[in-house]
């Protein structure tokens, strides 16, 4: 009886403090998060909305579309989707998405396995394989386009062992493979580092237990490392796909906006820049941008819905809370057991 009245009093006390604290809390939330949200909405969200609006106009980028441009409805979208150059660009982009995954995933896992071994000089090697990722696309482009010229260093070396090197950059049959090679070279370091981070979070005890049970090296990798690496792998696949869908820098620097089409390496983004800003057709460029946005969105949402859903919210928040709750419960149970004794 007394105890309940006590709690009543304290609840009343607290409720006033709680409302005070709530106002203060809301002010804090506002001050801390407003700058980031405003900047984010202004420069990330708003352009996409504006782009959707511009996409309905034939507009050269001066003044406002409604005054200085001409409303054309969905004409821009029809033109873009029926342009063989854009269709080719979409095809190249998806070839790049798929092939990057197929080429990089197995290599990255193998390299990460290799660098997860304990040996002297490992730290240095880990740093060195990250070099291509850190070097900018412009520099990679400049360097590789010299190396891969018809009379460049690569073909000279090939010539020394009796192979006549192809025209890596200009031959439309080969150019896209060259591009894939360069993409893999440039971005595999990132995949390896992610995989390494994932492997390091696998508890060592599992391997020890497996070793006790007489498992061999490859068997352990197959039944311990790979399954436990799956969440990392799924996140990497997502990042890689999004990156490939937006690919622009490397192609634009090595091939330029016109050659990329004839060499068969144009991507959706290079097409957008060439036809949009390059040609001064800002309405049309915005429409193409929106198409890229929608394609990326569909790919991203499909992937999230069917593959990532169990990782993203699960791994980050719920599982951890569940773990905490379980730990708490276990502790309580222990305490109860001790008390009972």
């Amino acid at each position: 009886m007394t105890s309940t009245s006590n709690t009543n009093v304290s609840v009343k006390h607290r409720s006033k403090r709680v409302t005070d604290g709530k106002v203060r809390r809301n002010i804090e939330i506002f001050i801390l998060s407003a700058p980031a949200i405003i900047l984010f909405c202004a420069f990330v969200i708003l352009p996409i909305i504006l782009g959707a609006y511009y996409g309905f106009y034939k507009w050269k980028g001066f003044g406002t579309p409604s005054k200085n441009g001409k409303f054309v409805g969905l004409q821009n979208y029809v033109t873009a989707l029926s342009d063989p150059n854009f269709q080719a660009a979409i095809l190249h982009t998806f070839e790049i998405v798929v092939c990057s995954l197929v080429i990089q995933a197995p290599l990255a896992i193998l390299f990460a396995l290799l660098l997860n071994q304990k040996f002297k000089g490992r730290a240095l090697i880990r740093t060195l394989i990250f070099v291509p990722y850190v070097v900018s696309e412009v520099i990679v482009g400049t360097g590789w386009s010299l190396l891969l010229q018809k009379t460049g260093a690569v073909n000279q070396l090939l010539g020394k062992i009796g192979i006549e090197g192809p025209d890596w950059l200009a031959d439309p049959k080969i150019a896209i493979w060259t591009l894939l090679l360069l993409i893999s070279w440039k971005y595999i370091g990132f995949a390896v580092i992610l995989m390494l981070a994932g492997m390091q979070s696998i508890p060592e005890e599992l391997y020890e237990a497996a070793r006790v049970d007489g498992a061999g090296f490859w068997q352990m990798q197959k039944s311990i490392t790979l399954p436990l690496l799956a969440p990392t792998l799924r996140i990497w696949v997502f990042l890689s796909m999004i990156g490939s869908l937006q690919l622009f820098d490397l192609v634009y620097i090595i091939w330029g906006q016109y050659v990329s089409t004839t060499a068969g390496v144009s991507t959706m983004a290079t097409y957008m820049v060439r036809e949009g800003r390059g040609a001064g057709n800002y309405g049309y460029g915005s429409a193409v941008a929106l198409i890229i946005f929608i394609i990326s969105l569909i790919v991203a949402l499909t992937y999230q819905r069917f593959v990532l859903s169990r990782d993203l919210d699960g791994a980050l928040t719920e599982q951890k809370q569940a773990k905490k709750r379980a730990a708490k419960r276990a502790k309580e149970a222990q305490r109860l057991a001790e008390a009972a004794q």
Partner: protein, 293 residues
């Protein structure tokens, strides 16, 4: 959080210990494949650096050869030119401002998402993580028009502000799990000792989240240092160019003078490489924390 930090420091300390005394020399096959891998990754970069020490006739006659004799004229000329230093300073201004902006705004909003219980926290997290799906490419045309209408075209601010906005998602995704793992008990103890939420933020959260902050800061800096598309759209006069644009302009202007282009290129990549090499361990550590959740 403290748990995460202590385990990670313990982990690296243990590794360091093992490296110094107990690390086995390892399988020859492991070394062989590692060296092949390293050679593939590093050779093209070395080609650029060595190429700068050669003359144009050396490069034309023997594209795959070593410098013979070594020539330092190209590097000297580039270092003595105002163009290089001007672009370097521009890149530094943009990179450092972007990094500071992203880290400061990012940690503030991550703190809100991670430590305040309110209805819109998941929504805010979803908003920013959705931003991860849309790199700048998609919005670049309207973004450029907006920057122009704001009067920011051809100014460094016109690159810095959008870069901060686009850097936020990555930062928040890395920092939120970091901040969430700071034990509740620590916050309660701070509150009991009369510390306000903001005091807790300033005195405990910021120092404790340094590994995550370092990771995101360096990734942001390197990203800004290498960014090409936004400067390409926004900057129009040479004096405002950042290094990537500078490299491209230099290589198209001096397309005959290959050796000098290579010297310019290798000097341009040096700062990012050095910065990354120094902090490389921190980055892997921070990423490990993030992946672990």
């Amino acid at each position: 959080m403290s748990a995460a930090i202590s385990t990670s420091t313990k982990f690296t300390a243990k590794n360091g210990y093992r490296l110094s005394s107990k690390t086995p020399w390892g399988n020859p096959a492991v070394y062989f494949f590692s060296l092949v891998l390293v050679a593939i990754c590093v050779t093209p970069v070395l080609y650029i650096i060595f190429g700068g020490f050669r003359t144009n006739s050396q490069i034309t006659n023997d594209p795959a050869g070593f410098p013979n004799p070594w020539v330092i004229d190209n590097y000297v000329e580039v270092i003595a030119s105002d163009i290089f230093w001007g672009e370097l300073v521009n890149s530094l201004i943009v990179g450092i401002s972007t990094m500071i902006g992203v880290v400061v705004l990012g940690i503030m909003v991550s703190f809100v998402i991670a430590r305040y219980r309110f209805r819109y926290a998941p929504l805010m997290y979803a908003l920013f993580s959705a931003g991860l799906m849309f790199p700048m490419t998609v919005g670049i045309t309207p973004l450029y028009l907006m920057i122009r209408n704001l009067g920011l075209s051809n100014s460094l601010a016109g690159i810095i502000l959008p870069q901060i906005a686009f850097g936020l998602p990555q930062t928040i995704i890395i920092l939120v799990p970091f901040l969430q793992s700071i034990p509740m008990e620590l916050e309660e103890a701070a509150l009991l000792d009369g510390c306000s939420r903001l005091g807790f933020f300033a005195r405990m959260v910021i120092p404790l989240s340094m590994p995550g902050v370092a990771t995101t800061g360096i990734l942001t800096f390197v990203g800004s240092w290498n960014s090409y598309m936004l400067p390409l759209f926004v900057l129009s006069s040479d004096s405002k160019y950042t290094l990537p644009l500078g490299v491209q302009m230099f290589s198209s202007e001096h397309s005959v003078d290959t050796a000098r282009v290579l010297a310019f290129t290798s000097l341009a990549m040096l700062p990012a490489l050095i910065c990354f090499t120094i902090f490389q361990k921190k980055i892997v550590g921070g990423l490990t924390g993030a992946v672990k959740g």
